[in-house]
């Protein structure tokens, strides 16, 4: 069997893993997105207590390896009676982790919104909440896209760590196939190729999105 025949044969199984990879990435980037916005708002607008709480969270998550965090969730929690499925542990772990990184991107972007925007919103009579909701966040989300794109792409690749906690994603499928046919090099070449394709497609999509929602005067202030 030459390389292309092999690749063709193992593709269905790898695509099954790819779907799981995309699920893990999709769910954890979403968890991280919501968490990241809340953390960023806490760090920028929160009182001393909330600032301290959110900052501590971000520092702890960023200061420890993702793999360690996943092991704590999957292998550690059962010792206190909490059993998580591999997939659940993976999306929770990666979501909580991504939230901390996204928070930093969002925080930078919020701070890049000109201070006069908040003042003008308040002077029209908006509450702080409305000002954030209608004025600050829409601008922040546009400013953040270029740097946020990196986080999504990292996450696609870091999702391979979920293999270490038995989640049946792309790497796990590759490992399984290689352990049966012993053509490790070729199998992981195909795996690498699939990751590459996903990343290239996502980059392109984000690029288009960025252009679609571009507004004159806002694109200049990339973080």
């Amino acid at each position: 069997m030459n390389f292309f025949e092999l690749a063709w044969n193992i593709l269905p199984a790898l695509l099954k893993g790819t779907v799981v990879t995309l699920e893990i990435t999709g769910v954890s980037i979403s968890i991280g997105f919501i968490l990241g916005i809340l953390l960023a708002l806490g760090r920028v607008y929160g009182n001393k207590f909330i600032y301290l709480l959110t900052t501590t969270y971000v520092e702890i998550i960023r200061g420890t390896p993702l793999l360690t965090q996943l092991f704590l969730l999957y292998f550690g929690l059962p010792s206190i009676g909490v059993m998580l499925s591999p997939l659940l542990a993976a999306v929770i772990g990666m979501g909580l982790n991504s939230g901390a990184y996204q928070a930093e991107y969002f925080r930078g972007a919020i701070q890049a919104v000109k201070s006069g925007q908040m003042i003008a919103a308040r002077s029209v009579g908006m509450s702080k909440f409305k000002a954030v909701r209608y004025i600050i966040l829409p601008q922040m989300l546009r400013i953040v896209i270029p740097s946020w794109s990196n986080e999504l792409i990292y996450l696609v690749k870091y999702s391979s760590l979920a293999y270490m906690i038995q989640a049946p994603e792309l790497m796990a499928e590759g490992r399984l196939i290689a352990s049966r046919n012993f053509r490790t090099f070729e199998v992981f070449l195909v795996v690498a190729f699939i990751y590459l394709v996903i990343v290239l497609i996502l980059s392109k999509v984000l690029d288009i999105l960025e252009k679609q929602i571009r507004i004159p005067g806002l694109e200049m202030q990339a973080v």
Binding site: G116, Q117, A120, S123, V124, G125, K130, Y134, G217
Partner: protein
């Protein structure tokens, strides 16, 4: 309702030990245009922000239409929606087209229906001569146009009073006129305005009264003719002389 729209009493404000306002008291009557002048760093902008509580004063009280708005029980967001504010650097909402800049306060603060808000916003844009720019983004407009939009944004809320914080200071000289003309028309239509400005021509011809401030206190207050031709304080005369030399007496 009395004829006094705004009353400020004994306003004090300091930042980190630096005393910026040291007991400011004045009144603005309905339909009156009052211009605050004075050297930079004197606390003029701070005073405006103390009035609409963007930076609440450390001490002193402010009344709007007889209601004390420095009272902590007052809903300050509601109060601010009835005090327009126009900034030196416009501060238009950068992600919104001109129409939405004018409309957003109506829909999101006043809870007005979109259709009604659109009509009203277009009327105000007409008033500042920018109806045809409704779908442009702020960055696509000149400074003068942006400032006129920001005036329309303030007007749309049907304010009891508009605060102007050096509205022409960030503009190229050839764009100052279009903004001043809008303000002159507002004054004629009876809008109550409190204006921090270095435009002596505007102050002289439009202001009912001029307040000269320095070092956080009001040095002198009176009608333009009195301050320009017969100031009570030597310092007032010096400042007016210097500023007129610098900025000229243009604008009607």
């Amino acid at each position: 309702m009395s004829g006094i729209v705004l009353k400020a009493e004994n306003i004090h404000k300091s930042y980190g030990g630096l005393s910026v306002l040291r007991g400011i008291s004045f009144e603005v009557k309905r339909g009156e245009t009052k211009v605050i002048i004075g050297p930079s760093g004197t606390g003029k902008s701070t005073l405006l922000r103390c009035i609409n509580q963007l930076s609440p004063p450390d001490k002193g009280r402010v009344w709007l239409d007889g209601v004390e708005i420095t009272d902590p029980k007052v809903d300050i967001n509601k109060v601010r929606s009835s005090i327009g504010m126009v900034f030196q650097d416009f501060n238009l909402f950068a992600h919104l087209p001109v129409l939405d800049n004018v409309r957003i306060g109506l829909t999101k603060v006043k809870g007005m229906e979109k259709k009604e808000a659109t009509d009203l916003a277009m009327e105000e844009l007409q008033r500042v001569g920018l109806r045809d720019k409704a779908s442009s983004y702020p960055a696509e407009l000149s400074g003068g146009q942006q400032q006129r939009v920001s005036i329309a944004r303030a007007l749309a809320m049907n304010p009891k009073l508009i605060l102007f914080d050096e509205p022409t200071s960030a503009l190229d000289p050839e764009l100052i006129g279009e903004v001043l003309n809008v303000m002159i028309n507002l004054a004629k239509e009876g809008m109550t305005m409190l204006v921090v400005s270095h435009e002596m021509g505007f102050a002289r011809s439009v202001a009912n009264e001029i307040i000269f401030m320095e070092h956080g206190v009001i040095v002198e207050e009176g009608p333009p003719q009195q301050l320009f031709s017969n100031p009570k304080h030597k310092r007032t005369g010096e400042f007016l002389h210097k500023i007129t030399e610098l900025y000229g007496e243009s604008e009607k």
